[in-house]
């Protein structure tokens, strides 16, 4: 086959437009959000959490019962049209109690994640990044906080402060980020030796930029997993603290308290344990789906 000149056509050589960036510039976070929206499971998780929040906020207003209304004639009933999820051993409507309980348990869950994602991540990031003496000191502090028995300062808090949710938050705040700090520190120790960190440093990025823009995003996998999986243990720690006397006063009860109370009678009235446990599990599934989606969305390697 022969080629002739007319077979070719000059392209429109427009230098200006060639220099322009076709794809609109998106920041890291915009991009992450865009990718999160595309993830179907993550959106299911997100909407489930929103739905649970709506139920927690508005459900009790709609319910004909309050969390404390007793009717001893109707104790330990199974599901009925009157009490959708049955009643507890003082004849209180279980659905209403679960909706009220959601407020406490979700607050605790959110707080625990928030603590993990801020204090834990930053503390661990700094410790791992600087290494050496700073790492040694920071990790020894973590060990000290880890080793002092929680129950001791919980009792002390109980003596000093009025009972209430804020005590739970203080007690959790003291310890709930320690595991995360260690995980992030371990990841950062390994990641900071990667080539892209060297590259970033060579173009003059500050330490802070390296930690927040490179190291933490690349450690997102373990971070998200740790943050989501710690939610139920925070919820049950709250139940334990309430049991000891630090938390919200009876008759108000969180999911954890509902579940632990029902454990005493689960042979005879299993649904009293089952429903709060289901509520916790659904929340956990939602957080995990969202977490997985977030991990994918925040992963710089998957950025296209």
């Amino acid at each position: 086959m022969e080629y002739s000149a007319e077979m070719f056509k000059p392209i429109n050589k427009d230098i200006d437009s060639a220099e322009a960036i076709v794809r609109p510039s998106v920041t890291y976070w915009q991009d992450a959000w865009r990718r999160l929206k595309k993830n179907r499971m993550a959106m299911v998780g997100l909407w489930t959490i929103v739905a649970i929040l709506v139920i927690a906020i508005f459900g009790p207003m709609v319910s004909p019962y309050s969390y404390s209304d007793q009717n001893l004639e109707e104790q330990n009933q199974y599901c009925s049209s009157k009490h959708w999820l049955g009643t507890d051993d003082l004849g209180r409507d279980l659905l209403t109690r679960i909706m009220y309980g959601a407020r406490i348990s979700l607050t605790v869950g959110f707080l625990a994640s928030l603590l993990n994602l801020t204090v834990g991540v930053i503390y661990g990031g700094i410790s791992g990044f600087y290494g050496g003496k700073i790492d040694n000191i920071m990790m020894r502090i973590v060990e000290v906080l880890n080793a002092i028995p929680m129950l001791l300062y919980v009792i002390l808090l109980m003596v000093i402060l009025e009972p209430g949710l804020q005590n739970i938050l203080i007690a959790l705040g003291l310890v709930y980020w320690l595991g995360m700090a260690r995980i992030v520190r371990g990841q950062v120790l390994s990641l900071k030796e990667q080539d892209y960190v060297l590259a970033a440093r060579s173009i003059g990025a500050s330490n802070w930029q390296i930690i927040t823009k490179h190291l933490i995003p690349n450690a997102m996998g373990p971070i998200i997993v740790t943050a989501t999986l710690n939610i139920p243990s925070a919820i049950f720690t709250e139940a334990f603290l309430s049991f000891i006397g630090l938390g919200v006063n009876a008759p108000m009860a969180s999911w954890g308290v509902l579940a632990s109370d029902a454990l005493q009678s689960f042979r005879s009235y299993p649904w009293q344990l089952f429903f709060p446990a289901i509520a916790i599990s659904i929340t956990m599934f939602a957080f995990n789906f969202l977490g997985d989606g977030l991990r994918d969305a925040l992963d710089p390697k998957q950025r296209k």
């Binding site: 007793q70 051993d89 009792i155 009972p163 049991f243 006397g245 009876a250 008759p251 005493q264 009678s265």
Partner: protein, 536 residues
Amino acid sequence: MRIRKSLLWFACFMTVLLIASTGFAAEKLAKKQILSFNVGTEPSTLDPAKSTGIPEAIIELNCFEGLTRMDENNVPQPAIAESWTISKDGLVYTFKLRKTKWSNGQPVTAHDFEWAWKRALAPETASEYAYQLWYIKNGRPYNEGKLKDPSKVGVRAVNDYTLQVVLENPTPYFLQLCNFPTLMPVYRKVVEADPEGWFQNPKNYIGNGPYKMVSWQHNSKIELVPNPHYWNRKKVGMERLDLYLVDDIQTALSMFETGQLDWFDAPPAAEIERLEKQGLLHKSEYIGTYYYMFNVTKKPLNDVRVRKALTMAIDRQTLIDRVVRGGQLPALAYVPYGLGDATPDKDFRKIGGDYFKEDLAAAKKLLAEAGYPDGKGFPTLTILYNTSENHKKIAEAIQEMWKKNLGIDVRLTNQEWQVYLDSRTQLNYEVARAGWIGDYLDPMTFLDMWVTGGGNNDTGWGSKKYDELIYAAQAELNTAKRAKMLHDAETILMTEMPIMPIYFYVNLTVIKPWIKGAFRSPLGFIDFSTAYVLEH
């Protein structure tokens, strides 16, 4: 005759679970006479002089024997003491001892008792229940360290088999106390060799009771076998007792259902109905009262009308049937059933009767008189209870009753056990949950605690008249006069109402149907010496 009379004094209440005598011929004994019982928790100590808890006492009372032993009717019967005489003024007891042996074959003598009691009283022994020996002359000053000379303490071995005891006051329940762990004899040689830990090694745990310890696995199990040297050995038919140390009641229930346990106490409230239907639940008398204390130093509880209104405005029977469960008795007075009056065949409670009625209209009227018509203007009241599922349920139910019936707002607070005890003694509460289990079978064990400034009177309440009555009753020899004083004292207590009685305890226990012959005293102790196992 004096002996019979003093015995009769206590003859009153049946707490026998199952009596060995009936239908014995028709029953066939199991080949293996082994019984497993859940004591409930790891004993803090098994030194009878130092222990305080019921689990410890159950073990000690089966490994040791005092001067007397309680029979199934709660009457002290001769045990190591064969007989005794009591002086006319009720102060001097002379015990004649049987010739018996320790589990290592050595003789038990009156010197062993004298030594053991003085040891329990010695300040350096630091026995918590030493006050069970304060009834003895000079027992208290010796224990307090004010008297240094132990020979002045009112217990003396006249010879090897005669023990003379001089009391401070005539104490009608002294023969009962002789069955209390603190008054058990101990084997001097092993105790002196290791005063702190002699009981830890089963080989050193030398006793004189129906059983002896063969092994102690901490936090797990204690095994007892019959003591071959026990003076009444032929009475003991068991081959072995397995005493489990399981804390969790759900676990104990599971072990019962899988056959690992034959007997455990205090089943979970939710299971009581089912266990009762299956015929496994047994109820027996338990000398104790569950009540709420009012802090009378705080407004509005300083007004007796408010205290009375609160007391009258709850429905005890509903609370028992629906919340507590287990057939407790509603308490409309403070001293429980099962304690003797002027004569032991009369019940102190039945003679005293009820002190108030549950009456909503009257309660509302009292509250209005106090200045809070329909609860208007009544400040929010806080109920304090110690961390426990059952206390929480009861508090929630009472909160709702007060709210509905009187229109007052109530908050609940729970505290960890020791914090709660601290709040109580500091009077740092408004209404607090409490309970009292008797130390011995006499109304005094319930009433003497409410004297002004008493160590257990955590209400801030006090009455001179009340104190006088109690102190007079402690020194009174005439039983009729004494009973009258105690009734008068209870009347004062129930008129001023620093406490709100809720219910009288019962002991709930779950036993396999083939376990027979053991019985439990209303103080919670169990005598396994007559137990036997039927074929099953």
